[in-house]
Symmetry: C2
Subunit: 352 residues, 2 copies
Amino acid sequence: MARMKSKPTSFDIAYRAGVSQATVSRALRGSPLVNEETRRRVQAVAKELHYTVDKHASSLRRQSSATVALLLFEDPTADDSLINPFFLSMLGSITRAAARLGYDLLISFQQLSDDWHADYQDSHKADGLILLGYGDYLVSRGRLERLVQQGTHFVRWGAVVEGQPGVSIGCDNRQGGEAATTHLLALGRRRIAFVGAASPHCPEFFERYAGHCAALRAAGLEVDPQLQADAGDSTELVGHAATHALLARDVAIDAIFAASDLLAIGALRALAERGLRTPEDVAVVGFDDIPMARFAAPPLTTVLQDTKRAGELLVASLLQQIRGETVESRMLPTTLVIRRSCGAPAAPAGPA
Amino acid sequence: MARMKSKPTSFDIAYRAGVSQATVSRALRGSPLVNEETRRRVQAVAKELHYTVDKHASSLRRQSSATVALLLFEDPTADDSLINPFFLSMLGSITRAAARLGYDLLISFQQLSDDWHADYQDSHKADGLILLGYGDYLVSRGRLERLVQQGTHFVRWGAVVEGQPGVSIGCDNRQGGEAATTHLLALGRRRIAFVGAASPHCPEFFERYAGHCAALRAAGLEVDPQLQADAGDSTELVGHAATHALLARDVAIDAIFAASDLLAIGALRALAERGLRTPEDVAVVGFDDIPMARFAAPPLTTVLQDTKRAGELLVASLLQQIRGETVESRMLPTTLVIRRSCGAPAAPAGPA
DNA sequence: CTGAAAGCGCTTACAG
DNA sequence: CTGAAAGCGCTTACAG
């Protein structure tokens, strides 16, 4: 179905307002060169005709699109429609932040294998890129370097480590990991397992593990490699399997710190299947504070990453780059959220 | 930071390939008017220079943007960063479907009060709109009518009812509601409460309620208004409060059918707080099958809406409209997913 | 403060 | 099959 009348242009507005088309453009963009009285007249006509500036003409002329693209890399192992809820909260906050700053947000799910490094900015679809969940860091690193070389504006969410290409925003994973394990230690747990990859392929988990180890050492405990179960992807299934593998080793454990909430929820299920009670027999702490965490059985104690703040920072940082400013990578603090799965005495009764 | 070399144009490609700029454009767009050998040469040069067609120039000239906008209306009562997970799955599937069909996806969260009805298509940001979660139907209906009048292309996800403005895709809520309650009846439950709004403000819930009532009547039972607890917004908190209100009435109940999973999860918590066991004392069935459902305590029996299929259909239907084809509203079937909360004997042990 | 004009990078009739 | 030319709807020097 075609539109009833075709979209008015700035010439139509100019004609009706009795000014030139150039003046319409100036008036509507808020140029100080325009007489207030003229501006008001133009705005009135524009409103009356439901005129909006054509995005493509404007972007073409100005060579910038007032659009940023969010590239979300899918975990190839995850179910088709299942995106890590953590990234989903991030998406929400990024969307809002972009809108608030007058930018449109293009979103796209990418396979790690896709040829994503060039497309968006080259075609002028977006002025910059936000990268979320780009998988194996050692694999994606080369892409990031290429992005930097091309002068593409981008920010990624992830671990902030030395010598990384481009700008990263991430939470203080090490501090978060340390807080989780310190909390378990304070509750008297001594055999604390870590469920999650501990390798540079997965720098965020690696940092959480480093914090975990630091807390153990600070308490005078040794790091027992038997107490670490690999889990690279953040899914319930992987957490479930990793925990079963851990339990099959027949080492004594009285707590699990899982590198993500999804892993922790899988751990909870594995524990229950082995007849172990949480938190009585094995306390569990996760990481992220996804919405699901408070509805786990029992409600999950976890390390909260502030996605609202993170999204705002991601967008702000990207826009700074677009404006030509120099931007530094940054780390955000985490907060321990105590629920029932850790066995802390003062834990609240229901979802808070 | 500026780009190293500025973006090549079709003139650069033309020059290097020894053809005219017009031929470059034709060759790259796959026009049959171009000699195969010429096309290959042009493509080779384009690839070498990392040339991509400028989105804005192309869209401006063609008067279409190969972009659709997803407008997600936020529940004003919901927490800032908490979007109904059901819509989030939908978002995933819509994003993928749009990409597969060569369309970019712009996303935006809207307040119901915003002046959204005109913006996107008028500014040529998008060729059409997908509407998700637009709140109170009686309020938004006027907006939809205006959209139709303006000739804006759009599809909405929601209840499919007679005389609605525009095209809607939704699941068969009535059938889903009927299946849920029929299942509970087959398990011997007789005092089945409905948690959810039963009013035309909320046509999806209303249809689910209608299915519920039909099932009761088919079993020769009367519909007891005492057994319906209003809950218009789909959040855990609202479900929790509504269930407490229901239980405070002191009417006997042996099952709850909640109009959404989030409501059901709230009901589960309220039940536990009153010392009622699920499913022994009160069986619970939800609606949606959000990812969280299988991790509820106990895992939630629910009516699955196929978000993957829905997203594909939404996009396909919108693109048909954009191409000028006539499109009908459509309903998708639902599937009952049996877990433990309904107390069915054959329910699987863990998340399937 | 305002207007006439150029030009952003394409696509597509039109002519050959 | 190919090229020259017009034009999509703006923004912004340039001139007044």
